[in-house]
């Protein structure tokens, strides 16, 4: 049967609960009701905190730290259909943990590659993220990324930026990591007012651009190679690529 759930982590955990306790045979998992329902049976999962917590406890007990991380990472790949593969991952893990390393299984291989793709995106964005300084000294950055990597960036920049307050704003998901003296959390953003930048901000952008230009060696000019490293889709908020 087709399972319908709300796309949240809690929702997915509730789904796992029902699959186990109702012994459901799942053919696919969707986040939205399909337009046309043919002859398949379909079943809606309601997010239930108690059920979710039970499953989470079972996972924490049963899986290694690394495997738990893999599960969490997979959920962050929110633009991909990971649900069936992750369900399978969890099922295999409960049955025989050793099997989880068998990459000859397509589902496990899929999860492994998904996690790699996520981590490589995270690594790229560690470098490609560009903060701008606001009037009050807060550093602010907008991102638009394929997967939900705000948790990674938040943690990374907490280590880097010392006591400087900062905001990482995920435009597509309307989320923001907010860090200041009293706060350090991910919030959803209801409304957004364009901020005012510090007086120095424009100046440093100009300096960065001229450094960037001066650092290139003309006789090795190779824009194709450049583009394979920084694909156009990353360039939206990188000032050195703006004319």
């Amino acid at each position: 049967m087709i399972l319908l759930y709300d796309g949240s982590f809690e929702g997915f955990l509730s789904l796992v609960y029902e699959v186990y306790y109702e012994k459901l045979h799942v053919s696919s998992i969707v986040k939205k009701m399909p337009e046309t329902l043919l002859f398949e049976r379909f079943h809606e999962i309601f997010t239930d905190e108690a059920k979710a917590r039970k499953v989470l406890e079972a996972i924490t007990k049963h899986f290694t730290k690394e495997q738990q991380r893999t599960i969490f990472h997979t959920v962050l790949c929110d633009t991909r259909e990971y649900e069936m593969a992750l369900l399978e991952y969890i099922r295999i893990g409960f049955k025989n943990k050793k099997e989880l390393r068998n990459i000859n299984n397509t589902n496990l291989f899929y999860i492994q590659n998904l996690e790699k793709e996520l981590l490589s995106l995270v690594h790229k964005m560690y470098g490609f993220t560009r903060f701008e300084e606001l009037e009050d000294g807060t550093l602010y950055v907008k991102i638009e990324t394929k997967f939900n990597i705000v948790p990674f960036l938040g943690e990374h920049f907490c280590k880097r930026l010392g006591n400087i307050p900062f905001i990482i704003h995920d435009v597509k998901r309307s989320l923001a990591f907010v860090k200041n003296d009293t706060l350090r959390e991910i919030r959803s953003i209801a409304s957004f007012v364009a901020p005012t930048f510090s007086n120095e901000e424009e100046n440093f952008k100009v300096l960065w651009k001229s450094f960037f230009k001066a650092a290139a060696v003309e006789s090795r000019y190779n824009p194709k190679l450049q583009q394979s490293w920084v694909p156009l889709l990353y360039r939206t908020y990188m000032s050195e690529f703006q004319v």
């Binding site: 560009r130 440093f204 960065w208 960037f212 230009k213 001066a214 490293w229």
Partner: protein, 410 residues
């Protein structure tokens, strides 16, 4: 004429750009709560310039004034170029502001020799002191040691930086005498030896050091170059040798004529590949090349080695240990690890390898996988060569500085 910060930055970044050691990887994570900056172990690229090279550090000279006259250098005293200098404070402030905005991973600081060696080294040190002590900056700092500066100054720099280095520039003493008469190999290596001694006194792990050699300005063969690198790695003096294709910036009677010479990029690329074989694949320099030989242009060094040693092939991927697997053309360290992991569960065939995203393009000629092996070309060098060449242009014309420089997969 008074130069603006922007002009200075353009000039001093422009003169530092020929130094290729940009990487900040391999440093300890050294995060302290509430302090600014930390270094990241796996190296982070913050951008890529229009020549496709990674930008991870604010790479600048403190000054492009120089009292010396090295023939290949754009800053040599006899060149008529605009000269300028940052003050240590200016440079420290720039670093902090770039770092805060996440433009960079840290600072790469080099300098022309202004007045004398000690004076120059003190200016570099002053910049480091402001960054480390005043701003409490823990981000990555790579500083060029000035050959000939006093031991105390070298010592302080070694303690404040993540990485120190000094460029060998030319692969032999003979070439140095010809093109950089003020320098000798001993003089260039001595700050490195000293820095290593000091850092070992302080901790069990030596400070990581690198050097750079210019390729193609003089007549040394690739064999000589790799032999020198190999000796530097063996003595554990250096963590990394960088190779930089000679770029003509001056006219000089002993240098290739600027109009005729293009930077030998393919040669540089092959040297990096061979260097990976030295550092990570357990090859020795005289396995890769014989006396006075140059690296093959058509084939990468591992493929070339395999073709010259066909009696060792085909290798059974289901049984070979890791150190043998990595010697198969097309299978890198990551590929070998994947094979080791996957074969615990089943006997692998070609299809399984493809499934594991291991490229069979080159490897197929050199392996047995279960019942699969490549029958159509018998193991004659010339046939395999032809087969490899006919596969497509990328064997003959590798994309220069492709990912293998960074990942080492060959």
């Amino acid at each position: 004429m008074k130069l603006t910060t922007e002009d200075k930055l353009s000039l001093l970044a422009g003169s530092a750009k020929y130094d290729v050691s940009c990487s900040s990887s391999g440093s300890e994570n050294n995060y302290k709560t509430g302090e600014l900056g930390c270094a990241h172990n796996s190296g982070i690229c913050h951008s890529f310039t229009s020549d496709g090279r990674c930008v991870s550090l604010l790479k600048v000279l403190l000054t492009n004034v120089c009292i010396y006259d090295c023939a290949y250098c754009i800053n040599r005293v006899s060149n008529d170029t605009p000269r300028t200098a940052f003050t240590p404070r200016e440079l420290a402030d720039l670093t902090i502001n770039f770092y805060k905005r996440n433009y960079i991973e840290g600072l790469f600081l080099s300098s022309g020799i202004i007045k004398n060696e000690d004076h120059t080294m003190s200016l570099l040190l002053q910049t480091l002191r402001i960054l480390r002590h005043e701003y409490r900056f823990n981000g990555y700092i790579h500083v060029k040691l000035i050959p000939g500066a006093s031991k105390e100054l070298i010592e302080e720099a070694t303690l404040l930086a993540h990485r120190v280095s000094s460029n060998i520039e030319l692969p032999s003493s003979k070439s140095l005498a010809l093109l950089a008469p003020d320098k000798t190999k001993e003089k260039l290596l001595s700050p490195l030896k000293h820095a290593r001694g000091i850092s070992l006194q302080r901790s069990a792990k030596p400070i990581s050091m690198s050097t750079q050699m210019i390729i193609g300005a003089t007549s040394e063969s690739d064999f000589e170059i790799l032999k020198l690198s190999s000796a530097l790695y063996d003595k554990a003096l250096l963590k990394r040798v960088y190779y930089s294709a000679y770029i003509a910036v001056n006219n000089h009677k002993y240098l290739p004529v600027p109009e005729l010479s293009k930077p030998p990029l393919l040669r540089e690329h092959r040297l990096y590949q061979a260097d990976w074989l030295l550092r990570f694949y357990g090859f020795s320099y005289d396995e890769i090349l014989s006396e006075n030989q140059n690296l093959d242009i058509q084939f990468d060094p591992k493929t070339f080695w395999a073709l010259s040693n066909l009696h060792l092939f085909p290798i059974d991927v289901n049984h070979a240990p890791q150190e043998i697997l990595v010697r198969i053309p097309g299978i890198g360290i990551r590929g070998a690890l994947k094979i080791l992991q996957a074969r615990r569960f089943k006997k692998l065939c070609f299809e399984d390898l493809a499934q594991l995203k291991i490229s069979l393009k080159k490897a197929r000629y050199f392996i047995i996988a279960g019942k699969d092996f490549h029958r159509s070309s018998s193991l004659y060098t010339e046939k395999i060569k032809l087969a490899l060449i006919h596969q497509g242009s990328n064997i003959i014309q590798p994309t220069l500085f492709d990912t293998s420089i960074y990942t080492g997969e060959l």
